[in-house]
Amino acid sequence: MSRNLVLGACLSSLVLLAALVSFVWTPYNYAALNIPDKLQSPNTQHWFGTDHFGRDIFSMIMVGARTSIAVALVAVGIGMALGVPLGLAAAARKGSWLDEVIMRGNDLVFAFPSLVIAILITAVFGAGAVNAIIAIGIFNIPVFARITRGAALSLWEREFILAARVAGKGAARISIEHILPNVANLLIVQGTIQFSLGILAEAGLSYVGLGAQPPTPSWGRMLADAQTMVSFAPHLALIPGFAIIVTVLGLNLLGDGLRDWLDPRIRVARV
């Protein structure tokens, strides 16, 4: 295993752990206001200090991890659940009208700047975590559809597929039984990368006020709230910013590491 993979796995599991632990324990109630204790710098009572309402930032970061992961996870789930079947179908009927419709539809969604779609959706249907998930999920669909189709196309030329066809298997069955297991590696790697992009997108949406609504903590909104206070309480912005960096870096390293680890060519070379 590469160093990237280990480091990435460590950072990612740290964030995941924080999110999971927050369900049963946080040092303080993340939503409890305590205005006399506002704007404290990191200290022994409040490890990451307190914000402008006297809330404990460590607790908010933990619960914020939950928000980020939940949004990104479901969004990537939507992208995979819809994108992979579309990609498989397009590859199975290569060159047909179905292929054209799916791929041009993908191009259309792809051509839109993803954050603009997200802002459009949340502006029309209202701000909130659920709409943020849908918005981020939608622009994940073409990513998975393309990568699946691309990989599946080359597989369709292989002999074992020909053998399966000769054996009388239909296109749908071949796609599920033979193509899907062979593109799974790619999807896992891409899923990890998309997951980190999803976390960034969630932070971006919350930053402009379109993500999870208060009092649910979210890293992006913590950054936005800190904006006018950076000059006298820099920890308010640095801490959520650092949380985002750690998470995204961790997931990217994990994605890179997984790709190296799962890639048969590199594996052969290593042996």
Partner: protein
């Protein structure tokens, strides 16, 4: 030849005089930042405060005007006589007043302005100010007789509002983009989205202002506001949007901070017709569940005065009713239980963009959660707020600052967005309008404050502070805001 020489000499003289004058005089231009850009520049057809901030007393003047301390003094009317029964006001206008386009300001213009405001199709945002006007007659070019249907003790106060300024029929068509008034400053240029420039009016009837030009710059983002002020890109900020940054300005010798009062009663507006808020016990429970000081400290960083009714503390008729809705969780819970909501209920809390609302809303939601009320926070932009809350009345709770001066009369309007209907209060307002004696008026106003406080119409939070920031050398800025205005005539540089 001699003529030529004379010309040269005189022009040299003129130049040296102007150079000398330039040295002797201090800086004569100023850039003042505001948070909101006005939608247009006609104060007589819109409620937007930003319009008044730019044009009130600078470009447009009324028969009377507000001073920085809130007093009402003669404006375009030099003096007036009030008939014994209090229904006929005879105004004597100042002589020799001209509009910026050169036309004279006379009784016809006054009649035109008032008739326009009272007309059936009037677009005036404060029609109530003119409601009692029966006729406006031109006696001679400098005398106007206004007849009221009944005595109105606040008529001269009403005429000082930005909504009652005198406009000219000759220039009314272009008023929204090219306002022509009688003020000390004439409209210069409007760079949409950026700034508006006003230039000194050389033919002004009153004292010549110290400034030659003034630029109003629009900076909506609090972070950008802080940066612009720190970089000295602007000379003053009318009402600084981020109270948390004020200590930094205070500590910096380059700047001064002017903390004053505004007419903004900041309230937790409650939809009185929407269950369960139609039950006075529920509204009273809300009032007792709110810790005002926590909101002032948390949302406004300590700037603001607690209020217990819809009335400004700096007004002489103010009655302190904060004890009426003191923070008392036990009492709030008991009241909710009595009303049948022992386990609380769910409602919505619509929050417009200003930080008093967004931050105050988070604090109030947390405070209401203490007594079991779940208030779902819905952040909205102003346009959305006007549409769904103010006009659509589709809300449970909202936080907003009512910045019009002396606006307790809105409680007499049952169709107003918080939908308070009380015949007692309506009678009280009718009595107030027909009373002129100041002591009597103060008594009635006191009763009115008590009535709405005892009915717990809305949650009364605090009086919004005016947080002005300026370079140390700027003088004459209004510390308080008796009305939305940036009075340029009083501003000068001291360097």
């Amino acid at each position: 030849m001699t003529k030529q020489m004379f010309r040269t000499v005189s022009s040299v003289l003129a130049m040296s005089v102007s150079v000398l004058a330039g040295q002797a005089l201090a800086k004569s231009d100023i850039t003042i930042a505001m948070q909101l850009e006005p939608p247009h520049l006609d104060p007589t057809s819109a409620a937007a405060q930003a319009i008044d901030s730019v044009v009130y007393t600078n470009v447009f003047e009324g028969l009377t005007r507000f001073m920085g301390d809130g007093s009402v003094v003669p404006g375009l009317a030099e003096m007036w006589e009030i008939s014994d029964d209090g229904t006929v006001y005879t105004f004597t206008l100042r002589d020799g007043v001209t509009f910026h386009d050169g036309t004279t300001m006379d009784a016809e213009d006054v009649k035109f302005s008032l008739d326009r405001a009272t007309a059936e199709d009037s677009a005036n945002a404060q029609k109530a100010l003119f409601a009692g006007i029966e006729t406006v007659e031109v006696v001679d070019p400098l005398t106007v007789k206004v007849t009221l249907s009944e005595p109105n003790g606040s008529f001269l106060f009403n005429m000082a509002w930005g909504d009652a300024v005198i406009v000219a029929p000759e220039s009314i068509d272009g008023i929204k983009t090219n306002p022509v008034g009688t003020g000390a400053f004439a409209f210069g240029e409007w760079v949409q989205g950026d700034s508006i420039t006003l230039n000194r009016n050389p033919n002004y009837w009153g004292n010549e202002p110290a400034l030659e030009t003034a630029t109003f710059k629009f900076i909506s983002d609090p972070t950008a506001a802080f940066a612009a002020m720190m970089a000295e890109d602007v000379d003053a900020f009318d009402n600084f949007p981020a109270p948390e940054n004020l200590p930094q300005f205070e500590a910096d010798p380059r700047f001064k901070v002017l903390v004053g009062s505004t007419e903004g009663e900041t309230i937790l507006s409650t939809n009185n017709k929407q269950p369960p808020f139609d039950d006075i016990r529920v509204r009273q429970a809300l009032a007792h569940a709110i810790d005002r000081q926590a909101i002032i400290d948390g949302a406004m960083f300590g700037y603001g005065t607690p209020i217990g009714s819809h009335f400004a503390p700096h007004n002489p008729a103010y009655v302190d009713l904060t004890g009426n809705s003191a923070y008392d969780l036990e009492k709030a819970k008991a009241l909710l239980a009595e009303a049948g909501f022992a386990d609380g209920f769910e409602t919505t809390l619509h929050l417009p963009p200003p930080s008093y609302a967004r931050r105050g809303g988070e604090i109030i939601a947390a405070q209401l959660a203490e007594i079991g009320i779940t208030a779902e926070i819905i952040n909205v932009e102003w346009a959305q707020w006007l549409e769904s809350v103010f006009n659509g009345k589709d809300f449970g709770l909202t936080i907003v600052s009512h910045t019009e001066p002396m606006d307790i009369g809105i409680y007499a309007r049952p169709e107003y967005y918080f939908q308070y209907e009380s015949t007692d209060f309506q009678t009280l307002m009718a009595t107030l309008n027909s009373t002129t004696a100041p002591e009597e008026r103060a008594k009635i106003l006191g009763e009115a404050q008590r009535l709405i406080a005892n009915d717990y119409v809305n949650g009364y939070l605090f009086q919004l502070a005016k947080l002005g920031v300026a370079k140390a050398g700027v003088q004459g800025l209004w510390e308080n805001a008796p009305t939305a205005a940036i009075d340029l005539t009083a501003i000068s540089w001291n360097e």
